[in-house]
């Protein structure tokens, strides 16, 4: 597996690497554990998203601090109808209550996602996956390299075969941010809303500024994760949907015919 894949790597390095690589790359692009945890997380993500939206519909108002009800001023309110008749929405109808299964699905998917994430992070540390594949190298972090990786997809430029075999600096930073900032934050703010968890670890709520702040943070971090998902899928499409998705399913990068 390549150790660095930024646009800054000199051409000689490319050619020497390409010449030694077999035509069909047999080294897996992603390890089996990365592939399995990726797709379990994908399933959980959609379950959490759908059930999370359903739960928000029952009270599409957000507050800051400890408390907040329809009798207090919200920080903001989503302009959507609600599944509860006492929420003033401006719509003349009330949506059906779907919170029973939504909550059950939300928490079950959260459990599976957290356990899968733990497995991923522990194995990632043990196999040096983070150090090898995600921690950017110094040249990757130069402004020029980052700008290039940012501008290329904006011009709808497909990555070269070599670039497709590892992540550039921008990708590495983004993945690290999602794995070590967004996911921990969304789990923490979610747990802070658990009355049982908060009774055992009261600081988990107070540090976030209160129960309603935790809920608002949970909402915005979820939004950030959805934004990441959009860009992630967009980049996969740009790089070649079937070859990238295939690599995440079978581990093989294929024969490179898309970039030939």
């Amino acid at each position: 597996m390549a150790t660095s894949g930024s646009a800054q790597v000199p051409v000689e390095a490319f050619s020497s690497r390409v010449s030694t690589a077999p035509v069909t790359n047999l080294a897996p692009r992603h390890s089996a554990l990365v592939r399995v945890t990726h797709w379990i997380t994908t399933l959980c993500f959609f379950a959490l998203l759908v059930s999370g939206i359903e739960i928000v519909i029952s009270h599409p108002r957000f507050y800051w601090g400890e408390t907040g009800t329809v009798l207090t001023t919200p920080l903001f309110q989503l302009p959507i109808p609600s599944s509860r008749r006492l929420v003033p929405t401006g719509y003349g109808y009330v949506l059906p209550d779907e919170n029973g299964w939504s909550r059950a699905l939300h928490f079950e998917a959260a459990w599976i996602a957290v356990l899968t994430g733990l497995l991923y992070v522990i194995s990632g540390l043990l196999t040096r996956h983070f150090r090898k594949d995600l921690v950017p190298s110094k040249p990757d972090l130069s402004w020029r390299a980052l700008l290039t990786s940012f501008a290329k997809p904006l011009r709808f430029e497909r990555p070269s075969a070599t670039e497709a075999s590892s992540y550039n600096g921008l990708q590495r930073l983004t993945y690290l941010f999602v794995i070590f900032v967004l996911f921990p934050l969304v789990i923490w703010s979610g747990l802070a809303m658990s009355l049982g968890f908060a009774s055992a670890f009261p600081w988990s709520v107070t540090l976030l500024g209160g129960r309603q702040s935790a809920r608002t943070i949970h909402f915005f971090v979820s939004l950030a994760l959805v934004l990441f998902l959009f860009v992630h899928v967009l980049m996969v499409c740009l790089a070649g949907f079937w070859s990238r998705t295939g690599a995440m399913i079978t581990g093989r990068t294929g024969t490179g015919k898309e970039h030939a």
Binding site: E66, T67, N99, R103, A104, F107, L195, V205
Partner: protein
């Protein structure tokens, strides 16, 4: 693909060890009361993991309490179905004839008026009531700890749950003994220094500050102590769970 004999034996042993490990874990979880009554179905895994881990972490933990100046000025009473004729009659009489009966696995089944309950040692806590929908407010809740009343009637040692029934039609729920004996679990008759308003469940509501609002049922009129929830309704422990809402709501 060729699988060596050694690999086959090793993976066979690992699978057997894993399966028996799971079986032992399930047996232990059952023995230590870590399996909720609604553990069946596709969400059984999630509700069991939540209940088991919270029981291990929070058996004795206390819900956060707040200083008096953080009491919400306008506590929000959630939607209430129209009150029954029976309830209106009791309300007209100032709830003098309102009774809470306690039966099941107790030495002395009993019936308490609101005055009887008020003559018990009164306790209060300033805690947050949080609805599963997302809103929450802080109030002072005044009442008698459920543990005190259970002590008065004498609970059998094999008791595992307390079932509580509301005057509202088809409204009942249950808690395990860890919650029933928890010092913050109240039979609540007062709020913010006065009587508990009917809109908030007066004259008597169960108050469980470590569980979500819908578990804090209003107009409590009957308690049944039991070792088995199978005999109540569809057997999953609450009317809410029969409608798809989880039995345990520490989350």
């Amino acid at each position: 693909m060729i699988i060596s004999r050694r690999k086959l034996i090793v993976s066979g042993l690992a699978a057997t060890a894993g399966a028996s490990g799971l079986a032992v874990a399930a047996r232990l979880a059952q023995k230590y009361g870590l399996v909720p009554p609604d553990h069946g179905g596709i969400y059984g895994l999630g509700v069991t993991l939540t209940y088991a881990s919270q029981r291990l972490l929070t058996r004795h933990s206390l819900a956060r309490e707040f200083p008096r100046n953080r009491i919400s000025p306008r506590p929000f009473p959630n939607y209430l179905d129209p009150l029954t004729e029976d309830f209106k009659r009791l309300q007209a009489g100032g709830f003098a004839d309102y009774r809470l009966s306690i039966d099941g696995m107790v030495h002395q089944p009993a019936s308490f008026s609101i005055a009887d309950l008020k003559s018990c040692p009164s306790r209060s806590h300033i805690t947050e009531l949080a609805c599963e929908e997302g809103w929450s407010y802080i109030a002072e809740w005044i009442g008698v700890p459920l543990s005190h009343v259970l002590h008065l009637v004498g609970v059998h040692p094999q008791a595992r749950y307390v079932v509580y029934v509301s005057m509202e039609p088809d409204t009942w729920d249950s808690i395990d003994m860890a919650d029933a004996l928890h010092p913050q679990t109240f039979l609540c008759y007062g709020m913010n220094g006065s009587e508990l308003p009917v809109a908030h469940g007066g004259p008597l509501r169960i108050r469980l500050p470590r569980q979500i609002g819908y578990k804090n049922i209003k107009f409590i009129t009957r308690l049944t102590v039991t070792d088995n929830l199978k005999r109540f309704g569809k057997g999953c422990g609450s009317a809410g769970c029969e409608a798809g809402y989880a039995w345990y709501t520490g989350i």
